[in-house]
């Protein structure tokens, strides 16, 4: 198996601007540049974090990787498969969990997961057995209750379990804990670590929660305004500003780095 789970080279994506007056900072001929010239590599088995504020392009990047958006520029390889050329092969290797758990709200956990399993070509009997095991492990007893009755934290865990149902080898988690209460957040984080261990999967995770990045990720990239401005282990990132801030947290790193970045970005815009 390819040792590089993910190889992203010079990926860029812009959208037609929806609210030009609000997005003036980033506007270039009526376009919002969501992701620009992003490159990074994720090794097999890593948990790689993308840390950035709201609107920094995290979801756009994830959607490009999940074949939901076609990038304007650059190249993406997943386990050596080119995303454009081998779309269907890649789709079998990946799965994505988004902020909103993306379920049919009135359908039960069983029905939602059965749909997912069949979509990926699993037969009914195997699927039902595996789904029972998974839901049992999550402590979900109401297999046949509509999912909308479950807490957001539980829904998110079901979503992660659903993603693992078809044994993806690259899991894309887009802000899996955003909007959860602290306890659910911790539970979801532990669940991510646990299932990753079991499935030997590679995880790409986006977050704007510094602690989460610190806690879960082997390496972290900091993204701001669609650009990756630093990438290292969280210790390595902290070392970057060690001389200026004593005992820095990732939060401090982020403030230091984005502060600078914002200035240069503004300069750049006013120049053009």
């Amino acid at each position: 198996m390819h040792h590089l789970a993910l190889n992203v080279q010079h990926v860029g994506k812009s959208f037609a601007s929806e609210e030009p007056w609000l997005k003036r900072l980033r506007r270039r001929n009526g376009k919002v540049c969501a992701v620009s010239d992003v490159s990074f590599q994720v090794k097999r088995g890593e948990i790689y974090g993308i840390l950035g504020p709201n609107g920094s392009g995290k979801s756009t990047l994830i959607r490009c990787l999940a074949t939901l958006l076609i990038p304007d520029a650059g190249r993406i390889e997943i386990f050596g498969h080119d995303l454009q050329r081998d779309e269907k092969t890649v789709k079998r290797l990946i799965n994505r969990v988004s902020v909103d758990a993306a379920f049919f709200k009135k359908l039960s956990a069983m029905e939602n997961l059965l749909y997912a399993a069949r979509l990926y070509g699993m037969d009914g009997a195997t699927a039902r057995k595996r789904i029972r095991e998974i839901l049992e492990r999550l402590g979900i007893k109401e297999l046949h209750q509509p999912l909308e009755h479950m807490s957001r934290g539980m829904q998110q865990k079901v979503a992660i379990a659903r993603a693992f149902l078809n044994s993806p080898i690259l899991l894309l988690l887009d802000e899996p804990t955003t909007g959860l209460d602290p306890r659910s957040k911790r539970e979801v984080q532990e669940f991510v670590l646990e299932v990753r261990e079991d499935h030997d999967a590679t995880v790409l995770l986006t977050t704007h929660d510094m602690d989460e990045a610190d806690k879960l990720c082997n390496r972290v990239a900091i993204i701001d305004n669609g650009k990756i401005i630093a990438e290292d282990t969280s210790q390595g990132l902290k070392n970057l500003i060690q001389d200026r801030v004593p005992n820095p947290t990732l939060e401090d790193v982020f403030m230091e780095l984005t502060g600078k970045q914002l200035v240069t970005e503004e300069d750049l815009v006013s120049e053009t």
């Binding site: 959607r63 359908l107 029905e111 069949r118």
Partner: protein
């Protein structure tokens, strides 16, 4: 082999999911079916009342059957059209569209699954309506060519499926207004296809347009078979255009869908929020 087995299972994924949705949203099903039944009854009663309305003696049995064929066929075709054309709008509303589009499923498989559901659901609903309506009216179908009528209906469904696929594209292109547009298409089909009247009463220019509606041929053939007991071979002149339309609209629909899907992925129109 394993490719086909996987695609077959994925096909069933859509059928099963949609039936589960019907069960879970049963309250709305009751609303729709009640509405359809009342609608069909009301229209058929127009036939029953025509003699009183006009004050002239009339062939009331014939009128009842004429309108009943119209209302049943329209109810069936619009259910098929709706449930196919709403497949995107529905998933966008549920917020699952990205999940479904990310799955390793060929788009024709997605369509076939949706279509299988739509046709079986449409048949079931139409049978329920028929059951209730026959309870209200004395309907004599002993001389009708029912086999021929069913055949025409099934072949006609194929071109309606193609129309549905083309219409399904609209919510991909226009996240906000797309599903309203599909309802306009449907309303136009209702107007021009001679559902409740012969198309010869329409203005010339509308008659020309009605040639392009598959429902026009389905309706005429059904009436030949049911009202005039025409044999199946007599229905062929209506069947050929339907087959031709199916051959054109389905590949055209898939082609358009593919192009629009790509466009949506380039411009970021798949997502709803987040």
């Amino acid at each position: 082999m394993s490719f086909w087995r996987r695609e077959l299972r994925a096909t069933y994924a859509f059928v099963e999911r949609n039936w589960n949705m019907v069960k879970r949203y049963w309250g709305w099903e009751v609303v729709w079916i009640t509405y359809s039944i009342v609608n069909s009854l009301a229209i058929t009663f127009i036939g029953a009342g025509m003699e009183k309305i006009s004050g002239q003696p009339m062939n009331t049995q014939y009128l009842i059957l004429y309108l009943l064929v119209g209302t049943l066929i329209w109810s069936y075709l619009s259910v098929v059209f709706d449930s196919i054309s709403e497949m995107i709008a529905w998933e966008r509303w549920e917020g699952t569209i990205e999940y479904t589009f990310m799955a390793p499923v060929a788009r024709p498989t997605h369509m076939i699954g949706t279509t299988l559901f739509s046709v079986s659901y449409g048949i079931l609903r139409t049978l329920i309506i028929l059951g209730v309506v026959t309870f209200f009216f004395q309907i004599d179908l002993s001389r009708a060519n029912l086999v021929g009528a069913m055949l025409v209906l099934l072949i006609g469904s194929v071109s309606f499926i193609g129309f549905g696929i083309v219409a399904a594209v609209l919510p991909l292109l226009f996240p906000e207004r797309g599903s309203q547009m599909t309802h306009i298409i449907e309303a136009l089909l209702l107007l021009i296809s001679g559902i409740y009247y012969p198309i010869s009463v329409l203005p010339d220019w509308l008659q020309k347009i009605s040639m392009f509606s598959p429902a026009t041929y389905v309706l005429e053939a059904m009436r030949e078979a049911i009202l005039y007991s025409k044999g199946t071979s007599d229905l062929l002149p209506y069947v050929w255009p339907l087959i031709a339309m199916g051959f054109i609209t389905i590949p055209f629909g898939l082609l358009v869908f593919g192009i629009v899907e790509r466009f949506a992925k380039k411009t970021g129109r798949l997502k709803r929020s987040g």
